[in-house]
Amino acid sequence: MVKRASAASVLLYTAPAFVIMGMVVIYPFIYNIFVSLSNMSLAHFRDWRLTGIGNYLSVLTDHTFWYFLFKTLLWTVLNVFFHVSIGVFLALLLNKDVRGRTFFRTLLILPWAVPQYITALTWRGMFNAEYGAVNLFLENTFGLQIPWLSTEWGAFTACLITNIWLGFPFMMIVALGALQSISDSYYEAAEIEGANAWQKFWNITLPLLKPVMVPAITLGVIWTFNNFNVVWLVSNGGEPSDTTHILVSWVYKAAFTYFRLGYAAAFSMVIFVLLFVFSWRFIRRTHATENVYG
């Protein structure tokens, strides 16, 4: 690793990117902190003033926060679990010598390629109790009729299925990239030692997948935790009666439908801190920064 650069050339290369990010990311972030400490709301939209940590207290003592936090954690854990296990499993298969792998791989990444809002709106249509494809299919094969979008956990499951559908290809491609870079010689050596399939997976594949999968999983957790689109569009803004929310969709509703701006800003900060603490602990503990090949 390389050389000490003149300030000018570093600036030349990085400044434009930082100016834009500063304007659209850092400035709003700081502004948000001020709003979170203020009484801004529809009644005090222009004449707002700083009022202290009251908003944070009302977020943390409000039972909706804890309730949606629970839902968000469940949402994140289930999604990431299915994304990673389906993704890695399919990648293991595609990495084998099966005929038509390019064909399968191409079709399997389609859910990633389709714009997210189209996925969400389409699945919402498919979960329609009477005309939706999901119930038609369940009715024809199992004689079942599930009122997906009109019950709390039905809507949650609908969002979950939608998000699993669109998320597994990313993990599959990341895992496939990692698998393809593992040299066959490791496995050949293991075979000479008499290792079985499980031992090979556990002792070779998994450790060499880890450095690639850990950053991908971390990003996956962050994206899923903050995945506004799917929850909002599938449940049409939290239906039935504001129960189908994760933290981000609830805070959006609080801000732009109920105009509780100070509360929403404090709420956003709490979400951010939760993610921040999690991510850094996760990255540290799993030693994502270390290179296995040494």
């Binding site: 290369y13 502004y31 010598d97 399997l108 959006y252």
Partner: protein, 281 residues
């Protein structure tokens, strides 16, 4: 004959195909469903059939979408915004990623960490201040406001992604060129950029998709119906499913087709180009 590590036994092969076929069906089913709805004649939108090609299939919905709805207007708005974001997002990430990969400078680690941290902001946290700021700058309800907002949301990921890819290119290549008298900028454009093409293609694709598929920010930042991008336009149809379901489906197909084609064409590069580089500086 001895099996190679990537070969499967006969039973394993059957199992592998079975699993691959099941998941492939799961992956394409919703897409086929939208195709099917887009081909239905107007009086059969609420049909309970699961056939892929409906009875009396027609391109009616597509024709109505293009001739009777402002679809082409939304399309050109989306193209303008997405192209601009692709150019800005890719161009800036190419250079910024290069600096992060090749130079050592004060605040580098911190900047890199700050970049990932931006991924943790809930989008709503940025939306309200952004909205107020763009009003103050006179950029509310304009292409430019949207372009800036999207470029900024795309950049953290793209910078990180380009840096990770440059890290895999040995520095000795540029060194050799510079010994021959080339300066750093020349070495960057003539040696590094061509080698980094797979990552650049992926970065461009992601920047494009960020803008092409974004609904939430556009819904808050645009009011003028003439500026509507495709996501806001298409969302309108879904509020009246009985009438407009076919129009929505036709629009969804037309909107997804270009990105899906790009994605498939670039998928060869997706595997090598998507490097989630380590956090190490």
């Amino acid at each position: 004959m001895k099996r190679k590590p990537r070969d499967l036994s006969f039973k394993g092969k059957i199992g592998a195909y079975f699993v691959l076929i099941i998941f492939t069906l799961f992956a394409i089913f919703p897409i086929l469903r939208v195709v099917s709805i887009s081909l239905r004649p107007g009086n059969r939108l609420l049909s309970r059939s699961l056939a892929v090609i409906p009875d009396e299939a027609t391109l009616d919905a597509y024709i109505r979408l293009i001739t009777e709805e402002p679809f082409l207007r939304w399309l050109s708005n989306s193209i303008i915004v997405s192209m601009a974001v692709t150019l800005i997002g890719t161009g800036l990430a190419m250079t910024a990623g290069y600096a992060f990969s090749r130079y050592r400078f004060r605040g580098k680690e911190t900047s890199l960490l700050a970049i990932i941290t931006t991924q943790m902001f809930p989008v709503t946290m940025l939306l309200l201040p952004l909205f107020l700021m763009l009003i103050r700058l006179g950029l509310y309800d304009s292409y430019l406001g949207l372009i800036i907002a999207y470029s900024a949301t795309a950049l953290p990921f793209t910078v990180w992604q380009m840096k990770g890819y440059y890290d895999t290119i040995p520095f000795s290549l540029e060194e050799a060129a510079m010994i021959d008298g080339a300066n750093q900028i020349y070495a960057f454009y003539r040696i590094i950029v061509p080698l980094a093409l797979p990552a650049i293609a992926i970065t461009a694709l992601f920047s494009f998709m960020t803008a092409w598929s974004e609904y939430l920010v556009a819904a808050v930042l645009l009011q003028d119906q003439d500026l509507y991008t495709l996501p806001i336009g298409l969302k309108q149809f879904t509020s009246n499913m009985e009438v407009a379901w076919g129009l929505y489906a036709a629009g969804a197909i037309l909107v997804s087709l270009p990105v899906v084609i790009l994605f498939v064409l670039l998928s060869r590069w997706l595997i090598s180009g998507l490097t989630l580089g380590s956090v190490k500086g």
